[in-house]
């Protein structure tokens, strides 16, 4: 065994020098010869019939090469944009979606025409000259209103607005409620969020008539799936489509699924025979990049007066927007995770996907798990409040403690230590001290609140048996390829792709350690479908390390095993008589007889190989995890609410998380900082708001859509426990979404706790000053 040096070390991010010095390469940095620029004409209406589109004025504007509408694309693109069957085998109404509208627009921002011109300014100018005549139709804005029979329909041809409606039964819910001594119910709103990555979306496509190949540069979390979808729609063999995502300036889930522009740009490039690029503006980003959340839950919990949790019944009404998001149904996992870290007799979750005239929703950092955690943690606090028990104590009373733990839906939590993280968090935050300060503060009319969130998530997607059906056939395993070159440098390819996660660093740590070579010798490659294994499965759902990292580890082990056999041959001993340490094979009992792995690598390309051994030193491996992985932790937030203005101040935020073994603590902390910031931001700041009557977007700029800065996010106290996962050889889990999954509940529990002396039990998000002021006013009057 190599002595592990890099795994677990706080290695500086290898990608940072190029990013910090301005040498990152994003879609806008690439300037092919003959590049044309596309602008998109979008519907200003949330719902309307298109009566006519006049393109003549735009077409004759300076520098314009083409103005294209739906009929121009029909010859280029076939089929409907994909919708995975995940979680909804009984999908009801799934409207067809062509990337550009022809007769009816169903959300504000839906494309109706594109203009391709010599530069971006000319394209934008000409786009204003396209005259579209619309006949406005009634818009459905509120998902609950959309469910009511007789509601206007999001699509005039639709039978109704129900995208899916299904119930997951986890135990005998009626029996659980029959035993209840206390029940609480709540209505919990999950506002829509705009992902707002620093780099908006962008697509650049070039079609080569010479060899009929299409290359797409795309800001994407998921290049191989996009290749699959675009090749199918454009009728080009998958092998002749190359999707390249170089640096990606953030995704948060919004760059998983295909978008209309991902089809329109390549099609325009093929029509015009020139490279075409479209870069999303910030306004387009807030308006048309798939939103997250957008759900309303009704929930009821049953318990005994001693704090024993019995049953949890919930209904998730999910605002799909105008079309099903490709992976949108994944968010229904909120139902399956609503039981959290607790032992319940029964949990029942009904999920209803509802079509509205808004941009589709799709996975956004956490995707269903923040919603499930928020709901569970809120309901547990409500029970505690109802029976007058300390919320931390009630949690402890109901924690799952035996692992593997099968939850009510048969999902098997691989490992956990929920007491451990809660103990540590309570100590770090000074829980009893704050309870005392809270009591003293209340005497003076101060509103101090303490909120816990003891969370668990399912991540590392995922086992082939469970995921192949959910995506419609392709299992979410992961692929890696490692090539040990004769001179000793190593190229490692993996099918995941980073958008800030630091895979260049962490994955190289794994490869370097496993092969016993310096990290500088490892080149990590990802994001280009022309390289490496045939398929990759992308980065989302905190899967990269637990699946992609394991594929790399597996490939490295294949190489090491072969190198050991070759080293044995070279040293004329049995491979079993060799030890491998710090990159050197040594004969047991005779350490002077040894070969470095670099020497072995060179030999692998030379003569005198053992009988039956092929040349070369490379391996392609697929890792199919036997289970998901289940990170967990405890977050505790202390807030104070200004009784007069409703302003919330976070006094303290402690997070003790457990993602199993850690490859690089600095990266883990960075992920937690970002994730927690996003959860706090949902709790306090961000909301995509639409006018409830007109359906028009109200928060279309960064002045109105409140992305916080470092000034708004409190100092975070982080710590961790380590409970290795038994699911994979390195014992790792995932950490990309953990902070977001945990934190909104901690903040809102703290605010609800602060306001509880006023008789307020629940606060919706975002907990804006205006909202809290009104609640306080009502409570006090």
């Amino acid at each position: 065994m190599a002595v592990s040096q890099l795994i677990g070390a706080r290695v500086q991010r290898r990608e940072d020098p190029r990013l910090i010095t301005g040498h990152g390469r994003f879609i806008e940095d690439r300037l092919p010869v003959g590049l044309l620029h596309m602008a998109v004409v979008r519907s200003p209406h949330p719902h309307a019939r298109i009566l006519s589109i006049a393109t003549e004025a735009a077409a004759s504007a300076p520098g314009v090469r083409a103005v294209l509408v739906a009929k121009d694309f029909h010859a280029q693109l076939s089929g409907t944009m994909p919708v995975t069957p995940a979680f909804a085998p009984e999908k009801k109404y799934v409207p067809e979606r062509f990337p550009i509208a022809s007769d009816e627009v169903c959300f504000q921002g839906e494309p109706v025409a594109v203009v391709v011109a010599d530069d971006r300014y000319l394209a934008a100018d000409a786009a204003e000259l396209v005259v579209v005549e619309y006949d406005p139709l009634p818009a459905v804005v509120d998902p609950e209103a959309a469910m009511v029979p007789g509601s206007p329909r999001a699509h005039v041809e639709g039978p109704d607005n129900i995208g899916w409606d299904m119930t997951f039964d986890g135990g005998d819910i009626e029996a659980a409620f029959a035993r209840a001594e206390v029940t609480v119910s709540e209505r919990i709103w999950q506002q829509r969020l705009a992902p707002t990555p620093m780099e908006p979306r962008g697509v650049l496509a070039e079609y080569s008539p010479y060899d009929e190949r299409l290359t797409i540069w795309l800001s994407s979390q998921n290049p191989h799936f996009i290749r699959l979808f675009i090749s199918g729609a454009m009728g080009i063999p998958e092998s002749r489509v190359r999707v390249v995502a170089e640096d990606v300036g953030g995704g948060f889930g919004s760059k998983i699924s295909p978008y209309p522009e991902d089809y329109l740009v390549p099609a325009a490039a093929r029509i015009l025979g020139r490279p075409v690029r479209w870069i999303e503006t910030r306004t387009e980003s807030v308006q048309t990049s798939y939103h997250g959340r957008g759900q309303v839950f009704t929930a009821e919990a049953a318990a005994l007066r001693d704090g024993t949790l019995l049953g949890l019944r919930l209904t998730q009404v999910l605002d799909l927007g105008a079309y099903h998001g490709t992976f949108g149904a994944f968010q229904a996992c909120a139902c399956l995770m609503a039981g959290g870290v607790y032992r319940w007799a029964a949990v029942q979750g009904r999920t209803i996907g509802v079509l509205t005239n808004k941009v589709p929703t799709d996975p956004y950092r956490g995707a269903g798990r923040p919603e499930g955690t928020h709901l569970c943690e809120r309901m547990v606090d409500r029970v505690a409040q109802e029976i007058g028990m300390d919320p931390a104590e009630l949690r402890r009373k109901n924690f799952a403690r035996e692992f593997p733990f099968s939850n009510n839906f048969g999902l098997v939590y691989d490992s956990g230590n929920y007491d451990g993280s809660l103990d540590k968090a309570m100590e770090l935050v000074d829980y009893s001290g704050w309870r005392q300060r809270q009591a003293e503060g209340r005497q003076q009319g101060r509103l101090i609140g303490i909120g816990c969130s003891t969370w668990v998530e399912i991540c590392g997607f995922g086992p082939s048996e469970a995921t192949a059906g959910a995506t419609g056939g392709i299992a979410l395993v992961e692929a890696a390829q490692i090539r040990f070159l004769p001179s000793g440098s190593v190229a490692a390819y993996v099918g995941t792709h980073a958008q800030g996660q630091g895979h260049d660093t962490t994955f190289s740590q794994i490869v370097a350690d496993t092969l016993g070579i310096p990290m500088e010798k490892v080149e990590l490659r990802h994001g280009d479908t022309a390289e490496g294994p045939s398929f990759g499965y992308g980065t989302y759902g905190s899967r990269s390390l637990a699946v992609g990292g394991m594929a790399l580890h597996k490939a490295a082990m294949v190489i090491r095993d072969k190198a050991q056999r070759l080293a044995g041959h070279m040293l004329e001993v049995s491979p079993d008589d060799l030890t491998f340490e710090q990159g050197t094979f040594s004969v047991k009992g005779d350490p002077s007889a040894r070969k470095t792995i670099e020497e072995v690598a060179l030999a692998a390309y030379g003569g005198k190989l053992p009988e039956g051994m092929e040349h070369g030193l490379e391996a392609t491996s697929y890792f199919d995890p036997p289970n998901w992985v289940w990170p967990f932790g405890a977050h505790i937030c202390v807030v104070e609410v200004d009784r007069e203005t409703g302003a919330v101040q976070v006094h303290k935020y402690v997070a003790v998380d457990d993602c199993g073994n850690v490859i690089n603590p600095m990266i883990v902390e960075g992920q937690l900082h970002g994730g927690i910031a996003q959860g706090i931001s949902q709790a306090l700041y961000e909301e995509v708001a639409y006018d409830q009557d007109s359906g028009l977007l109200l928060t279309g700029t960064m002045t109105d859509y409140l992305v916080p800065t470092m000034n708004e996010i409190p100092a975070l106290t982080l710590d961790r426990t380590v409970t290795p996962s038994p699911t994979n050889p390195l014992g790792v889990k995932g950490i990309g979404e953990a902070g977001t999954i945990a934190s909104s509940a901690a903040v809102i529990n703290a605010i609800s706790d602060a306001l509880s002396p006023l008789g307020i039990h629940h606060v919706d998000m975002p907990a804006s000053p205006d909202r809290l002021w009104k609640m306080i006013q009502e409570a006090e009057s």
Binding site: A124, A647, L698, T699, P708, T709, N711, P769, W773, K774
Partner: protein, 268 residues
């Protein structure tokens, strides 16, 4: 986020700028720091056909004290106001307000003249100007602040008229400006300024209507011996603020009162 096409010229003096504005006609706009104009152009809410750039004019960037008045050149940046010892000694309220305008980029580029001419309802300097009876000096006249700000984005300026200076009375008494907002770099949802001047208080309110407001009712109450809490109840008198995604009209009225009381209590 892609502005429409426009002509651009750079003025070398105030007279040159006025001349260029006249030549270019009503489609022309002046650009100083550009921190309000450029975002509006990028959203195509503003599509000026011609921009006359004032950044090449020397000698409009100064803070001077003369005859009991603090004179600030129109092209003086927020960041300069933050750093000015002279301003801190003679009009500390404005220096403190400048420190909380926008973010560092905005403070580095944005100018006091630009803020005045733009007349955003949520601008902070118009409130200070109004409450202190400042005068806006243009290339051709002096306009009292109370006559200058007419409505949202509307001032007494002629299309070819340039702000060259803003004159405030030296004000060294107790003061406070409280700005209520969601994020530190946001425009005020509501803000209140108070300044002890002579034998009375001056009180101004930001973003509780289309223009800044001087809270005469609060000033009068204080003059009649009301406590800060009593006087602050008059802060919402006559206000008619908008509702938007950040705050309802009722909340803005309430904030005007709360912030007025707090500002008076905290004034130092």
């Amino acid at each position: 986020m892609i502005p429409a096409a426009f002509e651009y010229s750079r003025a070398t003096s105030v007279a040159d700028a006025v001349n260029q504005l006249r030549t270019a006609g009503p489609e022309a706009k002046v650009i100083a720091g550009g921190q309000s104009l450029l975002p509006m152009m990028r959203l195509r809410l503003a599509q000026p056909g011609h921009l006359v750039d004032l950044n090449g004019i020397p000698d409009l960037d100064y803070v001077r004290v003369k005859d009991g008045s603090v004179q600030i050149g129109a092209m003086t940046r927020h960041a300069t106001l933050v750093r000015s010892e002279l301003l801190r000694a003679n009009l500390p309220l404005l220096a403190e307000v400048a420190k909380e305008v926008g973010d560092p980029q905005v403070r580095t580029r944005g100018t006091i003249g630009g803020v005045m001419a733009h007349a955003d309802a949520a601008g902070d300097y118009p409130t200070v100007a109004l409450m202190l009876d400042a005068e806006i000096v243009t290339d051709r006249r002096r306009i009292p602040a109370r006559d200058f700000f007419q409505h949202l984005f509307t001032t007494a300026l002629e299309p070819d008229e340039l702000v060259v200076e803003v004159d405030f009375p030296v004000s060294t008494g107790a003061h406070r400006y409280l700005k209520f907002r969601r994020r530190v770099f946001d425009w005020a949802i509501v803000a209140v300024g108070v300044q002890r001047l002579g034998d009375g208080w001056r009180v101004g309110i930001t973003h509780a209507g289309p223009t800044a407001v001087r809270a005469h009712a609060v000033e009068d109450a204080l003059r009649s011996g009301a406590t800060p809490a009593e006087a602050a109840e008059r802060a919402s008198d006559g206000l008619n603020p908008n509702s938007d995604v950040h705050a309802s009209s009722e909340f803005r009225l309430h904030l005007a009162q709360v912030l007025t009381r707090r500002a008076l209590e905290q004034a130092a």
